[in-house]
């Protein structure tokens, strides 16, 4: 029976090719626009650390200007000062902890034809890889000594290893960064969380860094940050680079892994005691405040999904709604034009529900075809958005299978919604009227 209805539906669609094409086009455009925006919003709202959401915390301390709160969402600076990061690293409460920031080096390889290039780098303490579940291809992280004293070692991501060492196991080999030799101690597999939840202060949809070096290198290379660095206190205790390290500038990102509530409580007690200790030294003059945010909270707090994206989301849904209403009007016109045919079928014994289902199937056929065309529209839409965004959203501008299925589902839902009332109307017409004039 269903097969028969489908063949009736397709025949009916073919009998009014222009009207059918217009309805398919309306659904395709509506679903395509909605899926373009919803896919981007969905990709931007993902949490790459979902599986560790209940053990990871971003740390914020309110070391800011006594006269004025910081202008972040929770009025605590996003980042820490270098001196506070060093102090927190000394705690042995967290299972793992990371102090880090973004930087960059020139990259060369001795005795090779590689053209020198500039690579972004993450200057980080050694727990970074374990804390964020970064998979290693070769080797592993550096010794804890490297985070304290100057040790020229580096961990390369797969892409950098491919570029510099043609993909071979480069463990123990030398690579030249800022003119100085570094030894490769590990190579990580492809790893590119989007959004880049571990550091949202730079563009949240940028690629992960191309080099990872230890946190103990600061003084040797006078490393500053390739990222946000804000200060409020212009006076400094010491001169030169040491003055920068000991200043109230915030530029270090800090994450901890705390396995349960008890450990978290211990850590909170530790932070409270630390701030009180600093207050006694004349620092931290604002009311005592710190925050530990889970990755999901961190993404929300940093407004990774911008207001503009939310506005586009609503606009695209409203647009789809117009397409659905338009579909209702056109289907109503189309079905009512065929009312005489329906009258004859009713008179010949077809039940109301049979007519209802038959017409609903006709709407569903429009939905499926529209949905498939909608995927194409959405793919073009996402590609165009990616082009228009000039690199800002490269890591999130793609459509996965889930979203393709969602597109067909949305089209089917939209067209069934559009077909429901017209199908009901046509199944409730009085056959007698049409039989009279035949």
């Amino acid at each position: 029976m269903i097969i028969y209805y489908i063949s009736l539906a397709l025949r009916s669609l073919r009998s009014t090719p222009i009207l059918s094409a217009l309805m398919v086009a309306a659904i395709a455009v509506g679903v395509g626009a909605a899926m373009t925006v919803l896919t981007l919003n969905y990709m931007m709202s993902r949490n790459a650390l979902q599986h560790k959401d209940n053990v990871l915390y971003a740390v914020q301390l309110d070391s800011w200007d006594p006269n004025k709160a910081n202008d972040t969402a929770n009025e605590i600076p996003w980042q820490l000062t270098y001196q506070d990061a060093q102090a927190l690293l000394r705690s042995d409460i967290p299972t793992r902890q990371v102090a880090m920031h973004r930087f960059g080096f020139t990259v060369e390889r001795e005795d090779s034809h590689l053209r020198p290039f500039v690579a972004s780098a993450r200057v980080t303490s050694r727990d970074f890889f374990a804390l964020f579940d970064v998979p290693f291809l070769y080797g592993g992280t550096w010794d804890s000594a490297a985070d304290q004293a100057h040790t020229q070692v580096v961990v390369l991501p797969k892409a950098t290893n491919d570029r510099v060492f043609a993909g071979e196991n480069s463990m123990g080999k030398s690579i030249t960064l800022n003119g100085e030799p570094f030894t490769v101690v590990g190579v990580i597999d492809h790893w590119n969380p989007a959004p880049k939840v571990y550091d949202l202060t730079n563009s949240p949809f940028a690629d992960a860094e191309s080099l990872f070096v230890p946190f103990g290198l600061h003084r040797q290379f006078e490393i500053d940050t390739w990222g946000n660095d804000s200060g409020w206190d212009s006076g400094s205790k010491s001169e030169g680079y040491e003055g920068f390290l000991q200043s109230e500038s915030v530029w270090i990102q800090y994450w901890v892994e705390l396995r349960d509530g008890e450990q978290k409580q211990q850590y909170e007690t530790f932070l409270t005691a630390y701030i009180q200790g600093e207050k006694a030294q004349g620092r931290f003059q604002r009311p005592l405040k710190f925050a530990l945010s889970r990755p999901s909270e961190w993404l929300r707090l940093n407004k990774v999904l911008r207001n503009d994206n939310r506005v586009l989301g609503w606009v695209s849904l409203a647009f789809l709604l117009v397409c659905v209403i338009n579909g209702v009007a056109l289907l109503l016109a189309k079905f009512l034009r065929k009312a005489p045919e329906a009258g004859v079928r009713r008179a010949l014994g077809a039940s109301r529900s049979a007519l209802f289902i038959q017409h609903l199937i006709e709407s569903a056929a429009i939905g499926v075809i529209g949905g498939i065309a909608g995927i194409v529209v959405a793919l073009v839409g996402i590609r165009t958005s990616r082009h228009l965004a000039m690199g800002w959203i490269d890591t999130v501008a793609s459509m996965d299978w889930l979203m393709m299925l969602a597109a067909i589902g949305l089209a089917l839902f939209a067209s069934l919604l559009a077909g429901f009332y017209p199908a009901w109307r046509i199944s409730h017409t009085n056959p007698a009227i049409y039989l009279k004039t035949q």
Partner: protein, 400 residues
């Protein structure tokens, strides 16, 4: 004369279809009025004058490879070479690239050691050639001189005794006064304002305080440096490759990246540009789809009423009467939809303003959008209505 009564009674008969059209028009007005508002807001933002000769400026960024690089010497040699190139108007060094989204800011006050207040401003460390290299307009005062240049170690905090500021910052810090010759502070030592430039948007066009800018005559010898090179009109693209080659040839101990200022600007405005393009596409598609729906439904109604139209024509109604009937009918539907839509648009706008900090919808743009939608609706009904007028009175005498 407009046959309101028969129109209303027919509409009541087709209330479902009429309501669907009205609803579509209402929703369209809600979407179009609010998106038009966002579009104009973003276009105004992108059209703000930058104060610079955007189209003719090349930017150079380089990172030195050796740790003991002689940055001051390199800058001197590079700039001498660049300024001597044919087609180059002037070149300067700067620790940040305008409109690039990356730069420095600080708070500046009118009193020494003032702890609160003042204005936050974007600041540049550059040299006396920056006015000419960026194409800025010095409205009052003078430029820096070579003797005022300070060469600073990478983390040296020495302050400049003289500065140049934008008029916007001068007006904010010294409202109603002449800022020229007045000191600004960031700590205890005064920095005298020796010149004021008309305008400069600074490093972050997104920033709420974009346009607050201070220039210092200083060179900090860090590992990385930028040059801003202004070329003669139309020479920019020809010099792009040459610049990279000449710089690499002069000194290969560095990684050089050349770009155009217009590219930096386009990247900074990419999100706004995307909003404008996406929203206008959606608006255009909406108009198209709604028009399509109206054409479809009006044609259907006319089809259904062929006989009735024939009878009216036979009874003496003119072609104009028939067309007018359908246009008035359409206007009634559109007016209902627009009235509904206008109210809904204002309500939706309140949410957009409150939750997503978008601009406030006023009656003028709303009225313009309503008028456009009315015209689209009438335009869509026009073709079927004219066709209806062609129905021959003879149809009345035939059965179906």
């Amino acid at each position: 004369m407009f046959e309101f009564k028969p129109i209303l009674s027919t509409l009541w008969h087709h209330k479902a279809s009429a309501l669907l059209i009205a609803l579509q028009l209402a929703l369209t007005l809600v979407i179009v009025s609010n998106t038009l508002l966002i579009i104009t807001d973003r276009m105004e933002k992108m059209a703000r004058p930058s104060g610079m000769d955007i189209e003719n400026i090349l930017t150079v960024n380089f990172l030195a490879i050796p740790q003991d690089y002689d940055m001051a010497g390199a800058v001197r040699a590079d700039l001498d070479m660049l300024r001597a190139l044919p087609g180059v108007v002037d070149a300067t060094h700067s620790h940040q690239i305008p409109l690039s989204g990356s730069g420095s800011a600080n708070a500046f006050q009118t009193q020494p050691n003032q702890e609160t207040g003042g204005e936050v401003a974007n600041y540049y460390r550059t040299d006396p050639h920056f006015i000419e290299s960026l194409g800025l307009a010095l409205v009052t005062g003078r430029n820096f001189t070579e003797t005022e240049m300070q060469v600073l170690a990478p983390n040296e905090q020495r302050q400049a005794p003289v500065i140049i500021v934008t008029r916007q910052l001068a007006d904010k810090l010294f409202p109603g006064e002449d800022a020229l010759g007045k000191p600004l502070y960031n700590g205890d030592s005064p920095m005298e304002i020796i010149g004021i430039v008309e305008r400069h948007l600074g490093a972050w066009p997104e920033w709420s305080k974009a346009g607050n800018v201070v220039f210092f005559p200083a060179l900090r010898t860090t590992q990385s440096m930028n040059y801003l090179v202004r070329t003669e009109s139309g020479e920019r693209d020809a010099l792009f490759k040459l610049l990279a080659d000449k710089l690499a040839e002069r000194d290969s101990e560095r990684v050089i990246e050349v770009n155009t200022l217009s590219n930096h600007m386009a990247r900074s405005y990419a999100v706004d540009n995307m909003m404008v393009k996406v929203l206008s596409t959606v608006g255009a598609m909406l108009g198209f789809i709604v028009a399509l729906g109206i054409v479809g439904l009006t044609s259907f109604w006319i089809n259904q009423r062929t006989k009735q139209i024939g009878v009216r024509r036979a009874l003496g109604a003119t072609r104009t009467n028939i067309s007018r009937y359908f246009l008035v009918e359409n206007s009634l539907i559109a007016a209902t939809g627009i009235a509904l839509g206008a109210a809904a648009a204002l309500i939706a706008n309140q949410y957009l303003v409150r939750d997503y900090s978008q601009p406030v919808l006023t009656l003028l743009p709303l009225g313009i959008c309503a008028l456009v939608i009315l015209l689209v609706s009438l335009g869509a009904a026009l073709a079927p209505a004219l066709r209806a007028a062609n129905i021959s009175p003879a149809t009345a005498t035939r059965s179906v």
